[in-house]
């Protein structure tokens, strides 16, 4: 496990977030963030049951989780993106930010909200993960994570 590879999942308890947490816990230290403490505790238990060596912490503050993380994954819906970005902007500078969504996403929307972060959008469509964004490092990390989740990778602007 890399020492500087802490991933915060903001919205960890929805289906995309929990699937990602379970899939990457062997490779990354996890900071699971969501509003419900009960659901977070349940997810934490599930992840550690799947991987007894997993390093998992739960938080209910998106800014704290993002501050501590090296990589930030957002599973928020489009309408909540602006509010969330304003909360984490200060602590997301020069970090990789992955917006994971199963709804059509407007290209560059999150990057405009977080101009000093390396942003990539991953849209899940069936068994494919469609990756868009200009940041090469963010794309590479997103691709690796999606492969751990058993998705096939597609680049929209490849």
């Amino acid at each position: 496990m890399n020492y500087n590879n802490t991933v915060a999942i903001l919205g960890a308890c929805n289906s995309l977030g929990s699937q990602l947490a379970k899939s990457i816990s062997s490779q990354h230290q996890l900071l699971l963030m969501d509003e419900s403490q009960d659901e977070l505790t349940r997810l934490c238990g599930t992840v550690t049951a799947l991987n007894k060596n997993a390093s998992v912490a739960v938080l209910q503050c998106s800014k704290s989780a993002s501050w501590e993380a090296d990589i930030i994954v957002i599973t928020a819906a489009t309408y909540a993106l602006e509010t969330l970005a304003s909360k984490i902007q200060e602590v997301a500078t020069r970090k990789i930010v992955i917006w994971l969504t199963d709804a059509p996403a407007k290209e560059g929307q999150l990057q405009a909200l977080l101009p000093h972060s390396g942003v990539v959008t991953v849209m899940i469509a069936g068994t494919a993960a469609i990756v868009t964004g200009d940041d090469a490092a963010a794309k590479a990390v997103a691709e690796e994570m999606m492969q751990m989740c058993a998705y096939s990778i597609a680049y929209l602007n490849a």
């Binding site: 500087n4 501050w67 501590e68 500078t93 020069r94």
Partner: protein, 229 residues
């Protein structure tokens, strides 16, 4: 810079870097309430060079804010050191582990200090050091690409780092002279006089290691000094 003696880790002291935590209890609470990210680093920089508001805004975009939990690694031996790190809050240490598993302290960094393995940072070669958090820490980290870009875009920062590197050379020379000419007791008393915060915050076994003493020797010295006080 490797040829100029910057082949080990760096540590730069902020003369007033401990003001936030060392103030009296009530004042301390008020100050901590209003501490904002970048406050300590900009105080530190502006002790040496002046920055405009625009330059400050630009500098902020080069740093990655990062929280580190106690005992969490920032760098592990064998990995490349990717960042110069400024401590806004908390305490870091750099150390080497020998073949017998014994830790040898190299440096400590708390509020207002920089920490890195400069040789590894500049050369992209594997580090011989570990860096971890002795206390929960809030850090500002800059990678080599950002560092170079910042120095180009904000010339005042080039002057700032030149001053820091000069101070670092002097500090290293003094530590070398102390290690070869001073007795164990002199080393400890000098350290305690120069860095009282270090004695209060850092575990005794780490201080002993930093001074090249055994914990038993340091304990004897401390007893002797407190008996004589």
């Amino acid at each position: 810079m490797a040829g100029s003696g910057f082949n080990t880790s760096i540590l730069f002291k902020y003369p007033h870097g401990n003001h936030v935590l060392q103030a009296g209890a009530c004042i301390c609470f008020i100050q901590l309430t209003f501490v904002w990210m970048f406050e300590v680093i900009f105080s530190h920089i502006q002790e040496k060079v002046q920055l405009t508001k625009e330059e400050q805004a630009l500098i902020k975009t080069f740093f990655t804010p990062k929280k580190l939990r106690k005992k969490q690694y920032l760098l592990q031996e064998g990995d490349v050191c990717r960042y110069l790190v400024f401590v806004e809050k908390g305490l870091l240490r750099s150390y080497n582990v020998d073949e017998k598993g014994v830790e040898h302290m190299i440096h400590f960094a708390w509020e207002g200090w920089w920490m890195s393995d400069t040789y590894s940072f500049l050369s992209a070669e594997a580090s011989a050091y570990n860096i971890d958090a002795v206390e929960d820490a809030e850090l500002l980290m800059i990678n080599l690409q950002g560092f170079e870009e910042m120095l180009l875009k904000v010339p005042a920062m080039e002057r700032y780092f030149r001053i820091l590197f000069q101070n670092n050379i002097i500090s290293k020379e003094r530590r070398l002279i102390s290690s070869i000419t001073h007795s164990a007791e002199e080393k400890y008393t000098q350290l305690a006089a120069a860095n009282p915060q270090m004695i209060q915050r850092i575990p005794q076994n780490m201080i002993a290691s930093y001074l090249g003493l055994t914990p038993e020797t340091l304990s004897r010295i401390r007893k002797k000094l407190s008996a004589g006080a």
